[in-house]
Amino acid sequence: MNITLNGKSTELEEAMTVAELLELKRIELDRVIVEYNYDILVKDDWKTTLLNEGDNIEVLRFVGGG
């Protein structure tokens, strides 16, 4: 299955939820933000949202800025 993750085409070997994808990428779940097909995906829904072919996922976090 192919998805777009942070702008990059990414191949996933098996079906998974958003939460499992973040775990696979070793992302600390504290204070990251997930956008799923251009809509904000609240944390409560990460475990129940199953990724589909062609999905667009953005994972963001805060960095330094002025």
Binding site: L5, N6, G7, K25, I27, E28, D30, R31, V32, I33, E35, Y38, I40, V42, E58, V59, L60, R61, F62, V63, G64, G65, G66
Partner: protein
Amino acid sequence: MNDNFIIGGKEVSSRLFIGTGKFQDNRIIPEVVKSSGAQVVTIALRRIDFDSEEENMLSYIPEDCIIMPNTSGARNADEAVRIARLARATGCGNWIKIEVVSDNKYLLPDNFETIKATEILSNEGFVVLPYMSPDLMAAKMLKKAGAAAVMPLGAPIGTNKGLKTKELVKILIDEIDLPIIVDAGLGKPSEAAEAMEMGASAVLVNTAIATAGDPVRMGEAFGYAVLAGRKAFLSGTGVVKDFAEASSPLTGFLA
């Protein structure tokens, strides 16, 4: 004298806002917050780079700070709105610094798109602080669009050139019934004091502190400068004259 500073219904304890970009070592940010006395702290939102270890900037910002995410990276109103909504979804409050820039050389803000974004976001309950080029008509439209403050630039971002837009910022201070916060370009504490002396409500400083030889001490220096400038403004500065006027009595001794 009572000199409360209120933005979006919230009392702010310091008129120095600081940014968190460009620090060589983010671990000193808590010390800079402390030494400068700043309460409002800006941060940016970015895609995670899965190939490198990244830090969580929020872990460096003390709990009692007001976090003001910016919309840097937005090239138009729609992108700024999208970033603002994402930032709010993190649960760190509803303040947003709108920054819409499509000019990569001078990083000058697009006032027109900024006004559009301000209107949308203030209607959604955000406390909106737009970064703008100092223009009276644009500032009036920002107020009408629901801005909580207006943040004109002193000079292009990161240039440390000082308050080059002084005359235009002065007009905003005189004419716009909102806090005017000088954002960008201030390079030295004296320039922050200059902005405050003429009646700016606050200043936002990042590069000048982050790239100083000793950022913690420079943060402290900016803190003092902002306090000094504010007190001078409240005191009412003396009249400027062309000719000397003795401060000591000139008669009654020797002559």
